[in-house]
């Protein structure tokens, strides 16, 4: 790989990461459907993770795994370790989010945030008595 190619690859990595981040933020802000918003979050996280890996990328380098001989140059292993953790956290948060989506859908039969807001506004405010008692868990 020539230096020019390596540089180009770096640009593509960063452009991809920033593109994913922008796409994710756009989806989270523009859509009113809860699952689309969560998918936006997944895209955003993927973009940030790609950015993190791109920061540690070095042209013409081996993966930071020792398999016998020591290679001349390795990519930075720290971002890779961080990304592994970040992916796991992201998946966990997404799972919690989808579990909450299920509960919300069970309660209101809709996933549209504006319809949800209207449905919640129609509910009577809980009285002091209800605040101290268990809610109507499905």
């Amino acid at each position: 790989m020539t230096t020019l190619e390596a540089q180009l690859l770096g640009y593509i990595l960063y452009a991809g990461a920033i593109g994913l981040i922008l796409l994710g933020v756009f989806a989270m802000v523009a859509f009113r459907h809860l699952i689309r918003m969560l998918l936006g979050l997944a895209l955003l996280e993927a973009g940030v993770n790609l950015f993190l890996v791109a920061v540690g990328y070095r042209p013409e380098s081996a993966a930071p795994i020792l398999t016998g001989g020591v290679p001349g140059s390795m990519v930075d292993p720290i971002p890779q370790a961080l990304v592994l953790t970040a992916i796991v956290i992201g998946v966990g948060v997404l799972a919690v989010g989808l579990a909450l989506v299920l509960r919300v859908h069970r309660a209101y039969r809709t996933l549209d945030t504006s319809e949800l807001a209207r449905a919640i506004a129609r509910e009577p405010e809980p009285t002091a008595q209800e605040l101290r008692l268990p809610g109507g868990a499905p």
Binding site: I21, G24, V25, M28, L34, M37, L38, L41, L44, E45, G47, V48, F51, L52, V55, I78, P79, L82, T85, A86, I89, G92, V93, L94, V96, G97, L100, V101, R103, V104, R106, A107, Y108, L116, I120, E123, E125, P126, T127, A128, Q129, L131, R132, L133, P134, G135, G136, A137, P138
Partner: protein, 464 residues
């Protein structure tokens, strides 16, 4: 010598063992969870004494030395926040009315991760603990199990996820600019490597990210819905101890990696906007829990402003405002829950609950900053720290602070007028369970009034 990692490990391990312990016998599970938090608090106090005798400790986890290894820094400033988290959790332990096993496990997770967040000095480790605190908060926010609580928690999660992604992006930029994640190491690299646009962009991203938990503008839109739909104890815990942890992370960054880079201006700006929007929204709100939620946004803005002052000039003031809020706001939430949500619910409630009314307004006066209550000294410290910097912007900030105090007084006195209305209200049976922690918090504040001088000296030593 106590290993500070135990402060994280004890609650976390207990959290994972809890379902098994409940299967052995519900009483075992019920007793173990708060006991583990109590052990954590005692370990924290032990560390406090150790630090008082032999100075701050830096402990490398697993024996891997920095900059590669992860370190915990045990000093009094970090311990104050870790202990505030543990003690608040004990005081505000969920009464087990909903899903007891999960609530208790989440509380343990919150305490363990909170201690880690307070003590860690590694940027990525801070991110991991922040996420743990966040996930525990999402669960606790939904603990009432109503549809509205799930919806509020989901909104919180979406906003929190957005914030966390930005925090991670900021951390990535710091790593790209410096090649390090250790705050002590970054303190050496920061002034040259992070004072440019890249470093400041990273700080703005991290302010956005950690600002979700710290209820900073504009990432605080989850606050009113979550506090209005979750239990008073969870709202009290989140507004009290958890929110301060987000600010502690930003303070750590400003004191180390961003010392002398002017990044504080970003925090000052969001702090000011938080004060203005929070207090004005509280003034306009008509339901008690939303008023308290918005007011906590304003109070956290005060702490953010204090922490943003250059060279750590406002650390003492910020610590004082933060601790005043940690004591005051939970008790207000607890008492408000017993009264009801709408202002029309609480007309003349003082007749049925005179003790609650007295505690509520005693603490409320400290929130406004009426002398000789601790809240007054906290705001006084903040004002003098602002004016001592001698900058025009800080004088404007001081004016905003005074204006905010007037707005706070206006809405709290409006509540007082309703509560002490002479028309008799319908008699209401208020649970006593919430009166005990509220009373203890009131007592704490009373003791702080009596021992204000030694307390002030201690805080001055902590903030060094």
């Amino acid at each position: 010598v106590i290993d500070p990692a135990l402060l994280v490990a004890v609650p976390l391990i207990t959290a994972f063992l809890l379902p098994i312990l409940y299967r052995v016998h519900p009483t075992v599970g019920r007793a173990t969870a708060p006991l583990a938090v109590a052990v954590t608090v005692i370990l924290g106090l032990g560390l406090w004494i150790h630090v008082a005798q032999s100075g701050p400790q830096v402990v490398a986890i697993g024996g891997f030395a920095p900059p590669l290894g992860i370190t915990f820094r045990v000093d009094h400033l970090n311990l104050v926040f870790a202990l505030a988290m543990g003690i608040s959790a004990l005081l505000l332990w969920p009464a087990g009315r909903y899903d007891e096993v999960r609530e208790n496990a989440l509380m343990l997770l919150l305490v363990g991760a909170g201690a880690g967040l307070a003590l860690s000095t590694d940027l990525f480790n801070l991110f991991v603990f922040y996420e743990l605190v966040a996930v525990a908060s999402y669960g606790l926010a939904a603990s009432r199990g109503t549809g509205a609580a799930f919806a509020a928690s989901l909104r919180y999660l979406i906003l929190g996820g957005l914030g966390s992604a930005f925090a991670l992006l900021g951390i990535t930029l710091v790593y790209a600019a410096t090649g390090s994640l250790n705050l002590a190491h970054l303190a050496e690299l920061g002034p040259t490597a992070l004072s440019g646009p890249l470093g400041l962009t990273a700080f703005v991203f991290m302010t956005v990210g950690f600002g979700v938990k710290a209820e900073l503008f504009p990432m605080n839109t989850w606050v009113p819905e979550v506090y209005a739909t979750t239990t008073a104890r969870v709202a009290a815990l989140m507004a009290g101890a958890v929110s301060k942890l987000g600010l502690l992370v930003l303070l750590k960054l400003l004191l180390t990696a961003y010392a002398g880079t002017g990044a504080g201006t970003a925090l000052l700006t969001v702090g000011l906007l938080s004060i203005l929007t929070g207090e004005l929204a509280a003034f306009r709100a008509t339901d008690l829990r939303r008023i308290l939620g918005y007011s906590s946004i304003g109070q956290l803005g005060l702490v953010a402003v204090a922490f943003s002052l250059p060279e750590g000039a406002g650390v003492l003031a910020g610590l004082a405002v933060a601790l005043n809020h940690v004591v005051v706001k939970p008790a207000l939430f607890l008492i408000a829950q017993g009264w009801g949500n709408r202002l029309s619910d609480i007309v003349g409630v003082a007749r049925h609950a005179p003790v609650r009314a007295i505690i509520f307004f005693f603490l409320g006066l400290s929130l406004i900053g009426v002398p000789p209550l601790p809240g007054f000294w906290a705001k006084f410290l903040l004002l003098s720290a602002l004016l001592e910097t001698g900058q025009g912007l800080m004088s404007i900030t001081a004016a905003v602070l005074l204006l905010a105090a007037i707005v706070e007084a206006a809405y709290l006195f409006r509540i007082a007028r309703v509560v002490y209305e002479p028309t008799p209200a319908a008699a209401r049976t208020a649970g006593r369970a919430d009166l005990i922690p509220a009373g203890l918090l009131g007592l704490t504040l009373l003791l702080a009034v009596v021992f204000i001088a030694p307390l002030g000296d201690a805080l001055a030593r902590i903030s060094g």
